[in-house]
Amino acid sequence: MRFRSDEGFNHKVSSEITPLAVYEQRRVFLQQLLAAGMVGGAGSTWSQVAQRPGKLAPLNSTTSTLVGAQATDTVTPYKNASTYNNFYEFGTDKADPAENAHTLKTRPWSVEIEGLVKKPGVLNLEDLLKLSPMEDRIYRMRCVEGWSMVIPWVGYSLAELIKKAEPLGSAKFVEFVTLADPKTMPYVGSRVLTWPYVEGLRMDEAMHPLTLLTFGMYGEVLPNQNGAPVRIIMPWKYGFKSGKSIVKIRFTDKQPQTAWNKAAANEYGFYSNVNPNVDHPRWSQASERRIGDGSFLAKKIKTLMFNGYEAQVGQLYAGMDLTKNF
């Protein structure tokens, strides 16, 4: 047996030695962690603290400085966020997308910009990825079914893309058409919804900086089941408004016919803003179950108006009857 008495202190090449300045940065890093509250249990920005899951290609991004873009709630484990969600093109059970979405082909991918814009056209994914700097944003995500997660997304404000497309004055709404490919999506064609899955926003909602054109989560590109390669995220609306795997963005003067609104207009309104005071006809929206909070016996938490983004988006709906415009 050989003993190595000098491990860690003798270096054949001097360049192997960690410079003192770098060594001392570790202290700074730990202090930052403490300052960010990570050790205390509260959240902090994703890029500061997080380990990437290491499953998919990383995305280069910087921490967003936008107000409201850094939720301080504990981030949901990647394992939960990537195995429990709705994506009906791959099955109606929330475990289905993770099981079935491997068939989705995300390259080549392009998004068509059409309708009432000065610059219609087709943008391929590579162009979209370069259109504006990527930001890390931690958003709460509230599903209309009564559960919620906290997810670090990567993307940039949809407004950046809209500005480049130069919508006409007559464009009042933005419609998002998502992929409906029966060859790669086994449940397209099921009678549950009409396909393709279409979502939409009023122009001012689409232009709101919190509306995120999303390419990644947890520092990596989106897993197929979470809507790869590009989707939208509006953290103040119920999750189903945030369309996945988008292939077309259309600017119109009419309120889009959205998928769930067509399926059950009395249950799912066009706006579908998170609102604890307006119940779904079959269940309460006053509280939610936070996924991945450690114990399944944990009490449900109170749902916040506009999912806690009232300060940022409340003015978009000033004077509106939110019970009627649910």
């Binding site: 939960n80 429990y84 929330k94 119940d279 016996l297």
Partner: protein, 209 residues
């Protein structure tokens, strides 16, 4: 020994009880091994509801099976299956009261008033209660056979409550395939009884003439 005699063995009942307990054992196993997915509360709630519905189908199948296969021995198993149905219904209600409502009685009361989906489920449970409470031999003696039988006809209302409850739950996903399957099974089991009843009436009127 004829195979039917096997049904009369005490071991047959033990076997049945084990089978009826299997879904519960699976739930516990999955819970402690963390294989219920991201939302264990929902998984438990759903699966206890599913098993209530399945055992309801099974218990209502006992009599038609007895008649059609001429196996009167099957009657020995009916009470256990009925009580298992009640057990899973209790679990289902417990999941709702505990995980969804944290045992807040006023919240449950509000929920009951507001949502037909919830009160139908609860109504089903209320209809099951007297059946479970009078399942013993002593209860049959106390009530008298005829009255006991009348009381236990309440069971025929359960498929209606259960199916509507299930239908409304699935309406959220517009996903009714399973609802129709259960509706077909339970509908057939109830239709069989209507058919028998009609035949009996016909037979009676014929003997009178």
């Amino acid at each position: 020994m004829h195979w039917r005699h096997l049904l009369l063995l005490p071991q047959a009942k033990l076997c049945l009880h084990c089978m009826l307990a299997l879904p519960f054992a699976w739930m516990l196993w999955a819970l402690f091994n963390d294989t219920l997915g991201a939302n264990p509360a929902e998984a438990l709630s759903r699966s206890s509801g599913d098993w209530t519905l399945r055992f309801l189908c099974l218990v209502l199948a006992v009599t038609p099976l007895r008649h059609i296969t001429r196996t009167p021995e099957l009657i020995r198993f009916r009470r256990s299956i009925g009580l298992a149905t009640f057990f899973y219904a209790c679990l289902h209600l417990l999941c709702y009261a505990w995980f969804d409502q944290s045992f807040e009685i006023d919240e449950i009361a509000k929920d009951l008033v507001k949502r037909p989906f919830i009160w139908l489920g609860m109504l089903g449970f209320v209809f099951m209660l007297p059946l479970a409470l009078t399942s013993s031999h002593a209860a049959v003696r106390w009530l008298g056979g005829k009255r006991w039988q009348y009381l236990h006809r309440l069971v025929y209302a359960l498929p209606v409550f259960a199916l509507l409850h299930f239908y409304w739950m699935r309406a959220g996903k517009n996903n009714f395939d399973e609802v129709w399957i259960y509706a077909f099974v339970l509908g057939s089991l109830l239709t069989y009884r209507l058919w028998r009843w009609q035949n009996k009436i016909n037979a009676k009127t014929q003997t009178k003439h």
